[in-house]
């Protein structure tokens, strides 16, 4: 038994990476048929897990492809897995076929040469995507270069309980004032938590007077100038925070617990549909409302990526194509399913799908994507983000 397994493991992959790009789509589908695909993604939200396992898994059935959803607490775990495989010389039989990714993790994959690239034209549903749009072509300032396929748009939003507060603070300045006037009622997760770091970037933008000076390549001089003032501001805020700033929540999950238990009055999330999901799950009261800021909130696009050594690339391509299908994007946009914004160009969609998008009900607790999109802030490049995180940890978090 063991020798057979060993022999199988030593067989070369039936179709090398290069061959796949030479095939027609029909041939790729045939290649993928009957196989499986290991999709690694953040597993912290039940509704997302259900959408992936049940809905996407169901779409793969006609292709006889088995979808294995592998939940991770942090996308970096999947990146590390691929990195470890590369270190071990496993260049063909990698365990990770697809990763939900963006931003700094994408940069890591590119820096370490871990991404499979150049296949996006092969996907029939790629025609619905505007690959030239900056929101798609650049992932946190880094060109996607045919190495990523967009999945959803996301925009940061804040949340409050309308039963406890008439009018929430609608700017960073107002939020900081609110925190000072209501000691213990506000906090944010400590970076490197993804959402906590995004909140800190909002403050950073505020101090910088807007994103304009921060876009483009990292500028140490500008950073030092803005960072000094930002850290001072956040340090002065500390005594007014939850637990007097002696500690911060260590994850967005912890902040949502505090918010759900009424320990803090405000919360936020890069994926505001989570507030609707939280209400449906009974975690939040129905009176929770999410909202954007007058000065805008950060927006980004997230993607799926195939590692260079994925064992089941053909099946991963089939899954990526299904993820981009109008039906799957529509299903994903339903507030009761996930409520994540579509990445497709509406004009290019079949008219019935367009109508369905227009008719989507909105969840009272979830701010409408259109309302948020009215004031969107661009994300910074990864160097900026890393510098802000490191600066916060050193100057604010471990003081």
């Amino acid at each position: 038994m063991r020798s057979i397994a060993l022999a199988l493991a030593l067989l070369p992959a039936s179709a090398g990476a290069q061959d796949l790009l030479d095939l027609s789509w029909e041939e790729v589908v045939e290649e993928a048929r009957g196989g499986e695909v290991n999709f690694f993604l953040w597993g912290g939200a039940d509704n997302i897990n259900r959408y992936v396992s049940e809905y996407l898994g169901g779409l793969l059935k006609p292709y006889e492809i088995t979808l294995n959803r592998v939940g991770v607490a942090d996308t970096t775990e999947a990146v590390n897995l691929v990195l470890g495989e590369k270190a071990a010389g496993n260049d063909n039989e990698g365990a990770v076929d697809l990763i939900w990714i963006n931003g700094e993790n994408f940069r890591t994959m590119m820096e370490a040469d871990l991404a499979y690239c150049g296949y996006t034209d092969l996907l029939p549903n790629a025609e619905y995507v505007d690959w030239q749009s900056p929101a798609i072509a650049y992932d946190f300032g880094l060109a996607t270069e045919g190495c990523e396929v967009p999945w959803s748009g996301a925009q940061f939003a804040f949340a409050y309980d309308s039963a406890r507060m008439d009018e929430p603070p609608r700017s960073i300045e107002a939020i900081l004032d609110f925190a000072r006037e209501n000691p213990g009622q506000f906090t944010y997760p400590a970076p490197p938590d993804f959402n906590g770091a995004a909140f800190v970037r909002h403050v950073f933008y505020e101090v910088a007077g807007g994103p304009d000076r921060l876009l483009g390549d990292f500028d140490q001089q500008v950073f030092d100038e803005v960072a000094g003032e930002t850290w001072e501001l956040l340090n002065e805020l500390e005594p007014s925070l939850w637990r007097e700033g002696a500690t911060y929540p260590t994850s967005i999950t912890q902040l949502q617990q505090l918010f759900a238990n009424g320990e803090v009055a405000l919360s936020f999330e890069y994926n505001p549909s989570q507030f609707g999901a939280g209400v449906e799950a009974g975690q939040f009261p129905e009176t929770v409302r999410s909202y954007g800021l007058d000065g805008g909130t950060l927006a980004n696009t997230n993607y799926t990526l195939i590692p260079y050594n994925a064992a089941n690339k053909a099946a991963a391509l089939v899954l990526q194509n299904l993820i981009l299908s109008p039906e799957a994007q529509l299903e994903k946009a339903r507030p009761e399913v996930w409520g994540a914004a579509s990445v497709l160009v509406e004009d290019r969609l079949p008219s019935d799908v367009q109508e369905s998008f227009a008719a989507l009900p909105s969840h009272p607790s979830v701010v409408s994507p259109a309302e948020l999109a009215g004031a969107a802030l661009p994300e910074l490049s990864a160097d900026w983000i890393a510098a802000i995180e490191a600066g916060w940890i050193e100057t604010v978090g471990t003081r």
């Binding site: 942090d74 970096t76 775990e77 590390n80 990195l83 590369k86 270190a87 931003g103 700094e104 993790n105 940069r107 890591t108 820096e111 370490a112 040469d113 213990g184 997760p189 400590a190 490197p192 637990r243 002696a246 500690t247 911060y248 929540p249 260590t250 912890q254 617990q257 505090l258 238990n261 009424g262 320990e263 990864a382 890393a386 978090g397 471990t398 003081r399």
Partner: protein, 279 residues
């Protein structure tokens, strides 16, 4: 004549363990020296160690982890021994009590952590109960026992998990000891307390030192509970290592390995000390 067969018997286990742990240690050591050829860092450097050893966060993390491990070990040993001594006497319901202790062993650490959160957080059951009884004005006034800098919640969760472990080990030692030695001590003039002090505890000492070493090494090196119940600062050593391992910047990976090796070295050193003392 006696050595060879022992080695032979252990061979299958060693064949798995030595490459697994030895390989991982070598890999970690190489990476902690800045050697990561898979991303083009194929040189060797002491910089990651220098970075880690000069970072005040490292020392605060080490101190916190030592405190968590020492407090959890001490409390688990005291409570576990007391529970074992109680359960060792025959009484109605002893079987049920022992079963409950064993069931607790199967509870995952994360679940114990979630239980502590549910019970001890400022919006938890204890806080709400105290507020409902009017002992405090609002749940938020409940003392900060989780996500606190003294790691009380983490220690409490470890104690919940490790007490049954200590109890079961102590119980089996007590069972093999039998009531004889204690009765001999009592009848030759020892009070209940003296019999415990001079006969039972010395007989339990090897078991307790082994259980203590395991508890300490585990509480010192494990990630889940301090990650779930710890403050954002200071971080426990394994949490700090994990944060660096999952940092998006690849250059922090060697530092993560240096921290992990440091954790392993402290734990191994302690287990070694205990093993030497037992000889």
């Amino acid at each position: 004549m006696r050595r060879a067969p022992t080695l032979l018997l252990l061979a299958p286990v060693l064949l798995v363990l030595v490459p697994l742990f030895g390989g991982a240690l070598l890999f970690g050591a190489a990476r902690s020296l800045g050697h990561m050829p898979e991303i083009g860092m194929d040189g060797w450097s002491l910089a990651p160690w220098r970075e880690v050893l000069t970072d005040p966060q490292t020392w605060r993390a080490l101190a916190l982890s030592l405190w968590i491990a020492a407090a959890a070990t001490a409390l688990s040993l005291v409570a576990g021994t007391a529970l074992a001594l109680g359960l060792a006497r025959p009484f109605r319901g002893a079987g049920l009590a022992r079963l409950l202790v064993q069931v607790n062993l199967t509870v995952p650490h994360l679940l114990a952590g979630a239980g502590v959160l549910l019970l001890l957080s400022q919006s938890g059951l204890a806080a709400r109960g105290a507020a409902a009884f009017g002992w405090i004005d609002a749940p938020a006034e409940f003392p900060a026992l989780v996500w606190d800098r003294a790691a009380a919640g983490t220690i409490a969760a470890y104690v919940v998990k490790e007490v049954p472990f200590v109890t079961l080990l102590a119980l089996s030692t007590l069972a093999s000891l039998g009531p004889g030695p204690v009765e001999a001590a009592r009848t030759t003039g020892a009070s209940r307390w003296q019999a415990l002090r001079f006969v039972t505890l010395p007989a339990l000492a090897p078991t307790l030192s082994a259980a203590g070493a395991i508890t300490f090494a585990f509480a010192f090196g494990a990630y889940e509970l301090p990650a779930l119940l710890g403050a954002s600062h200071p971080l426990a050593l394994p949490v700090l290592a994990w944060q660096k391992e999952t940092a998006t910047s690849l250059t922090e990976r060697p530092e993560a390995m240096a921290l992990a090796l440091m954790t392993a070295a402290v734990a191994a050193g302690l287990v070694g000390l205990v093993a030497r003392a037992r000889r």
